[in-house]
């Protein structure tokens, strides 16, 4: 399956990172450096991110519908991407905190050579990771531009860091600085690739085996394409995480190198003072130089240029900014999918108009379109038509229309106009335009009131489609006025009024 290489890559990177984490912990115990220990925790959070992605991939492979998850687990990948994005953001916060702490209390690096060594090793590991994930997650879908991301892994005073990645030129293929347009690109491209969309409804949950289906619900199940576009999101999350590490490593190495060559430290057996570090001893010496009984005031060496100590936090903050900038599109995209937004490539207005133009369609209400994951789009609507016999033709036409738009999982509820008497054919036309409106929905509504509302809505709906949406949005106010309010939620009406502030 198309997801196999993903899993393999993730496992590979996971084991590498975990191994490195162990190495860092051991080295930190040997050199008893606290900074390296805290860096190893950053490594651990990396491992966790990879684990989250792996779990998401495993889950998402089960596209089969189950009793509890009738849509399958395909959304797991979007969730994985969101979790990774949120973790990255939280990590950025902690790095900012630590950087600010370091601004107020700068530290020297105790053993810069070890730092350089471990940093370079981490850089290699991360480089490898970048190569692994770049091919899959990159490919020009607007995500990070090269040269910098944030990452966690800035050096704390003494201690190495391990993840490094150099990702400078290679990934920068995504030339689109505007992330939203590139996101559109992603969705649109995938859509063209899968003309038959993905409809695993056919292997859904059937009560009896001899269901004769009239609807041609899009034929073969192109799960792979679906998967790959949803998986893109997940892999992007992992990629950004690994990218952050890479930058972190780069910063560590650069910092340690500058420190080695520029800084002139105070050797232990030499009388010198360090003006950059605000400690009591230097204070005293500084203030009361003659008081402390120094033999030769002129022979004091000052420890190296102070700005070197401030390089670390500055670079970290830059890194964080870049990382945040690149993570934001991922966060936004996965959050929008989870918020049941209408996919970007679909224009509701136009869709409505085109639907109204179909023969036999009198009106449309409650049109909802949302994206399950990747290119799997689901639509539901109420279609008003003349009578049951006309309905079957119309149904086929509507299904074909949706197929052309790329929406393959549709549920169309017919509403018949011809009679008045007992048919509660429609759910309220006036319902559900606000979130509590479902509570007003027609369960035990008054027939008369409903008919009246139905005819009102009807007249409105026969006009041009923008009016459709307008009538519906006005309706809840009518609904509040109508005696349609169902008993359990008498407070719904005042709450509705609230929402129209």
């Amino acid at each position: 399956m198309a997801c196999e290489p993903n899993r393999v890559r993730l496992l590979c990177m996971l084991s590498l990172t975990f191994g490195f984490f162990i190495v860092e912990v051991v080295v930190s115990r040997i050199t008893s450096s606290l900074a390296m220990l805290s860096d190893s925790f950053h490594m651990l959070s990396d491992v966790i991110a990879l684990l989250v992605a792996l779990v998401a991939v495993r889950f998402a492979e089960k596209t089969q519908a189950t009793n509890k998850n009738t849509f399958g687990w395909i959304r797991a990948e979007v969730m994985g991407a969101l979790v990774n994005a949120v973790f990255l953001t939280a990590l950025c916060f902690t790095i900012i905190l630590e950087a600010i702490e370091r601004f107020t209390e700068p530290n020297e690096i105790d053993s810069p050579y070890i730092v350089i060594g471990v940093g370079a090793a981490g850089l290699l590991v991360n480089l490898l990771g970048l190569c692994l994930f770049h091919g899959h997650a990159g490919g020009g879908h607007g995500h990070s531009h090269g040269g910098g991301g944030g990452g966690h892994g800035h050096s704390h005073g003494s201690g190495g860091h391990s993840h490094g990645k150099k990702k400078t030129g290679q990934i920068c293929k995504s030339e689109k600085p505007n992330s939203s347009s590139s996101e559109t690109n992603t969705l649109v491209v995938v859509d063209h690739n899968s003309p038959n969309g993905v409809n695993s409804e056919n292997r859904g949950y059937d009560f009896s085996k001899d269901g004769t289906e009239l609807q041609t619900n899009g034929s073969p199940l192109y799960d792979d394409v679906d998967h790959s576009s949803a998986a893109q999101l997940n892999m992007r999350g992992v990629f950004l995480h690994v990218l952050g590490d890479a930058l972190g490593s780069v910063i560590v190495v650069v910092n340690a190198l500058i420190f080695t060559f520029v800084w002139q430290p105070c050797l232990p057996d030499e009388a010198c003072l360090n003006p950059c570090i605000n400690s009591h001893s230097t204070d005293h010496q500084h203030v009361n130089q003659t008081l402390v009984g120094l033999t030769d005031p002129g022979a004091y060496r000052m420890a190296g240029p102070c700005w070197v100590l401030y390089m670390d936090p500055t670079l970290c903050i830059m890194m964080v900014l870049i990382l945040l900038y690149t993570t934001y599109p991922l966060l936004k995209e996965s959050a929008l999918i989870l918020l049941q937004t209408v996919p970007k490539q679909i224009d509701m207005h136009q869709l409505n108009e085109k639907l109204l133009c179909l023969e036999g369609v009198l009106a449309i209400h409650e049109l909802h379109i949302w994206q399950l994951a990747g290119s799997r789009i689901i639509a539901t609507a109420h279609i008003k038509c003349h009578d049951p016999t006309a309905y079957m033709d119309v149904a086929k036409r509507i299904k074909d229309f949706f197929h052309d738009e790329g929406i393959h999982a549709t549920t169309i509820q017919p509403e018949f106009v011809t009679f008045s008497s007992d048919s509660r054919d429609s759910l309220c036309e006036l319902s559900c335009r606000t979130q509590c409106a479902p509570k007003l929905c027609c369960g035990s509504a008054d027939k008369a009131a409903e008919k009246k509302a139905a005819s009102e809505a009807d007249d409105g709906l026969r006009e041009v489609s923008p009016a459709t949406l307008e009538v519906i949005s006005e309706d809840p106010e009518q609904a509040a006025a109508l005696p349609l309010v169902v008993t359990p939620e008498p407070a719904a009406a005042p709450r509705e009024a609230e929402s129209f502030l």
Binding site: S32, F41, S423, Q435, K439, G443
Partner: protein, 327 residues
């Protein structure tokens, strides 16, 4: 109208918009009890954090500074909850056909994630401190922790009903509001509890260190607290993940098979296909269903009966597709 000069005031819409927008937001926030509470608690937290930060900078105590940053971090959780409670009341539009109601579920989820991250962070700090205990001057931290504890207790008192829902006599009229912000309130509540536990932990470890000189108390407390936080977040995460993954609502798990049976017993129905039921937000369930019916069956009657059956279990938004079997 064209501007006649560069100073033409009619041509400056931008500034007015911002003001109108912010005042609109304020009105929205203050109108609902939940968001009002969140807003004032957020202000309280922010001011406390600022006070702590300035005190820490003035007295040059790193511990206080880092503690104030933790409080800022918590403020972001409150901010997320506030934003979600305002956003979820926006009207639906072309891009969001269901409106923004899911924002509260997402906010609860993100808060849960932040909490897990905080727990992880505290745990790692605890481990670091266990291996290399720094010389912490707890005498300064103690009064600040007590003050923080008080602030958090206020928060717990204000939000205590949010986590578990409801039922006071006079609160009934806010029930719909509370119901739909359940996730947000639960997330915020857990966050405040985590904070309180942190303060309590600091106080306990400070006392232990002063009295018994047990330096190990501090990291052990931190680790215990982080474990507690992690465990308490699990139910919230499970619920929001279920909702976001479009899982069948857990409350309907038992009722649905009965409903399917009843529908199948309707005259003319051959079988049910592709039932999908999911939660839009708290207590709002959406369902889609396809029925295969006989050619001579009364489609309208079947539809209304089906709607009735499902409305009785609480699914108000139902889409029933009728497929007529070929003869």
């Amino acid at each position: 109208m064209l501007p006649l000069s560069a100073k033409d005031d009619e041509y400056k819409p931008a500034k007015l918009n911002l003001l109108a927008k912010t005042s609109g937001w304020f009105r929205a926030i203050l109108s609902d009890q939940t968001s009002r509470n969140l807003f004032f608690f957020l202000l309280l937290n922010l001011s406390f954090a600022f006070v702590e930060l300035s005190y820490g900078i003035w007295s040059n105590s790193l511990g206080l500074i880092s503690d104030s940053f933790h409080m800022f971090f918590d403020c972001t959780a409150l901010l997320a909850g506030l934003a979600a409670s305002v956003i979820s009341r926006w009207r639906c539009n072309d891009s969001f056909s269901y409106g923004y109601v899911r924002a509260e579920v997402l906010a609860g989820f993100v808060n849960g994630l932040f909490l897990i991250f905080t727990a992880f962070f505290i745990f790692s700090e605890g481990v670091e401190r266990a291996l290399e205990p720094p010389d912490v001057h707890h005498d300064r931290l103690l009064p600040v922790s007590v003050a923080g504890l008080l602030v958090n207790l206020v928060g717990i008192f204000v939000f205590q009903h949010g986590g578990h829902g409801h039922s006071h006599g006079d609160d009934d009229k806010f029930l719909p509001g509370k119901g739909s912000s359940k996730q947000i309130l639960q997330g915020v509540f857990l966050h405040i509890v985590a904070d309180t536990l942190g303060s309590v932990g600091v106080i306990i470890s400070a006392l232990l260190m002063q009295k018994y000189d047990l330096m190990i108390a501090d990291p052990i407390c931190s680790m215990l607290i982080s474990l507690l936080i992690g465990v308490s977040v699990v139910p919230l995460l499970r619920e929001s993940i279920g909702i976001l993954m479009q899982r069948t609502p857990p409350t309907l798990d038992h009722a649905l098979p009965e409903c399917y049976q009843r529908v199948q017993q309707l005259q003319g129905v051959y079988n049910i296909q592709e039932p999908h039921f999911w939660t839009l937000c708290t207590d709002v369930y959406v369902g889609t269903l396809k029925l295969l019916v006989a050619p001579d069956a009364d489609a309208r009657w079947i539809q209304t009966q089906t709607h009735n059956i499902f409305t009785q279990v609480g699914v108000r938004q139902l889409y029933v597709q009728i497929d007529i079997a070929a003869m």
